[in-house]
């Protein structure tokens, strides 16, 4: 009689059932995301208000520094504050995903050393948590648009596409950094630097239109450039989207995602031994 076994544990074996397992553990993914969200808003005193105060203050400072002091041009007729905020939304989503995700595995050491599940779930749920902050900030944007009496154009229908792009970019980069952070603990210091540095090389406080032509290619290699430009294009309707730059960004994003997932899966097996 042929013996049938459901689980075979061997070195390198986990590869084969990976995506199946990921599906099997989807409920765990929901519940971990739910836990992170719940705990996040339970623990801080001002809770959800934090998701409003942070972008609001950043926007005010950026509008003052870039718009009033440096007198940089806005995009078309859009108020400078609105332009900053439309860029700040995806940027803050990206930066908080990066920060949350990279610490997520270390924060869940007890789970990793005691229970089996595809580890991908943990950084993924950290990205989802950041998305809740994004949704709250988005509500603020809507209020601001009402306040400025600014009507979005028909292009707003494309917003979900750029939202997805923001997601993929955040997830891909986060995965790579998360895995590195388990192995090399110094990434804890590097990540805040990346986030801070990225804020200035991405068009958050300024418009992409002021970037000189000779720098465009290099500039487009920052995947957040297209995400932010796309957001502005959808929300403000003014800027014209650079399709060639979008294409470059998408290639870079895809590359990050593939490398991120591969590196994560390669190192994932030894997380329990290294963490």
């Amino acid at each position: 009689m042929k013996e049938e076994f459901d689980i075979i544990i061997e070195q390198g074996r986990s590869e084969r059932n990976y995506w199946k397992d990921l599906w099997r553990f989807r409920e765990l993914f929901y519940i971990l995301s739910w836990r992170d969200i719940k705990v996040r808003y339970k623990q801080t005193v001002i809770g959800a208000a934090w998701a409003i105060i942070r972008p609001l203050l950043t926007m005010i400072v950026f509008t003052f520094v870039f718009g009033k002091v440096a007198k940089l041009p806005s995009e078309g007729n859009a108020p400078y504050a609105l332009m900053v905020f439309a860029g700040l939304l995806p940027w803050q989503f990206f930066s908080s995903s990066l920060t949350e995700a990279s610490n997520s595995l270390i924060g869940n050491t007890n789970l990793i050393t005691k229970v089996y599940f595809p580890r991908l779930i943990i950084p993924a749920s950290a990205v989802i948590t950041s998305f809740v902050d994004f949704a709250i900030s988005f509500g603020l944007l809507v209020l601001m648009m009402i306040g400025y009496q600014y009507t979005p154009s028909w292009q707003i229908v494309f917003l979900p596409i750029f939202l997805l792009l923001a997601f993929v970019t955040s997830f891909g980069v986060s995965l790579y950094l998360t895995a590195l952070n388990v192995k090399y603990r110094d990434f804890r210091y590097i990540i805040p630097f990346i986030v801070q540095f990225g804020l200035y090389v991405s068009p958050v406080g300024f418009s992409s239109t002021i970037v000189p032509d000779q720098w465009r290619f290099l500039y487009a290699c920052n995947p957040m450039v297209s995400v932010i430009d796309g957001f502005r294009w959808c929300i403000l309707g003014e800027a014209n989207l650079q399709w060639d730059m979008l294409a470059i960004s998408m290639v870079v994003t895809a590359l990050f995602l593939v490398i991120g997932i591969r590196y994560f899966r390669k190192t994932e097996k030894s997380f329990a031994d290294n963490i």
Binding site: E3, E4, F5, D6, I7, I8, I9, E10, Q11, G12, R13, S14, E27, L28, I31, L32, R35, K38, V39, K42, Q43, N108, N110, L111, I112, T113, K114, V115, Y116, F117, K183, Y184, R185, D186, F187, K269, S270, A272, D273, N274
Partner: protein, 413 residues
Amino acid sequence: MPQPIIKVDHLSKKFMIQHEAGAGGRYTSLRDVISDRVRGIGKKKEQTRAKEEEFWALHDVSFEVEQGDRVGIIGRNGAGKSTLLKVLSQITEPSSGSIRIKGRVASLLEVGTGFHPELTGRENIFLNGAILGMSRAEIKRKFDEIVAFAETEKFLDTPVKRYSSGMYVRLAFAVAAHLEPEILVVDEVLAVGDSEFQKKCLGKMEEVSMNQGRTVLFVSHNMAAIENLCKRALLFDRGLLVKEGRVGDVTMAYQQSYAGIKGNVWNRIIPLGNLGFTSVEVLIQGNQPAYELKIKFKVLSKERHKKAFVAFDISNSLGITIMQALPVLDPFIDFEASERSYSVTIKLPPLIPDRYLISAWCGPHFSETLSWEKEIIGFEIIDSPTVGRNFPHVINNGFIVPESNLIANEKDI
């Protein structure tokens, strides 16, 4: 003829231990990697490799478990029990060999894994259930049963950080007890919780196994619990499966391996490594509850080494290290090509009667070992630390009976 439900075949798990990790401890830092690479350019590869030492947590282990079996896994600390469970639960990968399993495995390596202190009891039931592999529907169906088992109905909507530790453990175990996997893997989780609850948990595990034909693998230091619950047992020692068979035979073998209490003198002719112990001897002096150990030891330096200091671990008959004596904190053994002898006195706390074993260690830093001779000598304590007590001591009430005094408070006037 029952079919095997778990088949373990030549399973090994190897860890690399880094010796010169220094104060940084167990994490690799990018700086170390970069500087190692730079340093390594001119050197041969072996020199950079030499820092790492292989350690086999499990070595060539094979066994089978049949459906409905309740198997106890016993052995001293570091025997490989927990590693086996981790490999079985797919938390870590084996280095070689394979395990074949029929059905779903749920592992309970810790009570309340993933419990979040900020969340309420109700929320944690769902969270913990999902972590252990239950579906939402399944948890909902068993919710009332879980709550009844844990006896925490009143506190369901209280954050668990306000729970007493007993309540916490009860709730956590209740969730795990209602898992319905084909195979349940349980690590030493019952060590916590009061004895009545332990009994209840053991009863539940037995019921699950008897009535529903589920397979249970159970690790414990508590021989009574193992003998109660299990039919078969596996005995591990330093990564090897040394005995398997009927539970009584195996626990007997385990206890006998200590019963042959180690002598009080140990000698080695040729020390390994740069610096090593060549002889260690113990003498017990005084009376309960103020026994004193006198350990005489000799060390021999063979090659140049960093200044080192010594530590002595004392473990009890269950293999649990209960204390460590560190006579001098600063490294004091210099490199010197001769054999030197020292002696250390250790004031023992009021220990309960048992057989105790001593391990001798020396090294330049807590994270760096030059010589570690495990459980080489022993001593036995026969009389109770409480003068006049005849009732026997059990380990469930602790290893030490501290001196205590009762004073009747006079009413304040």
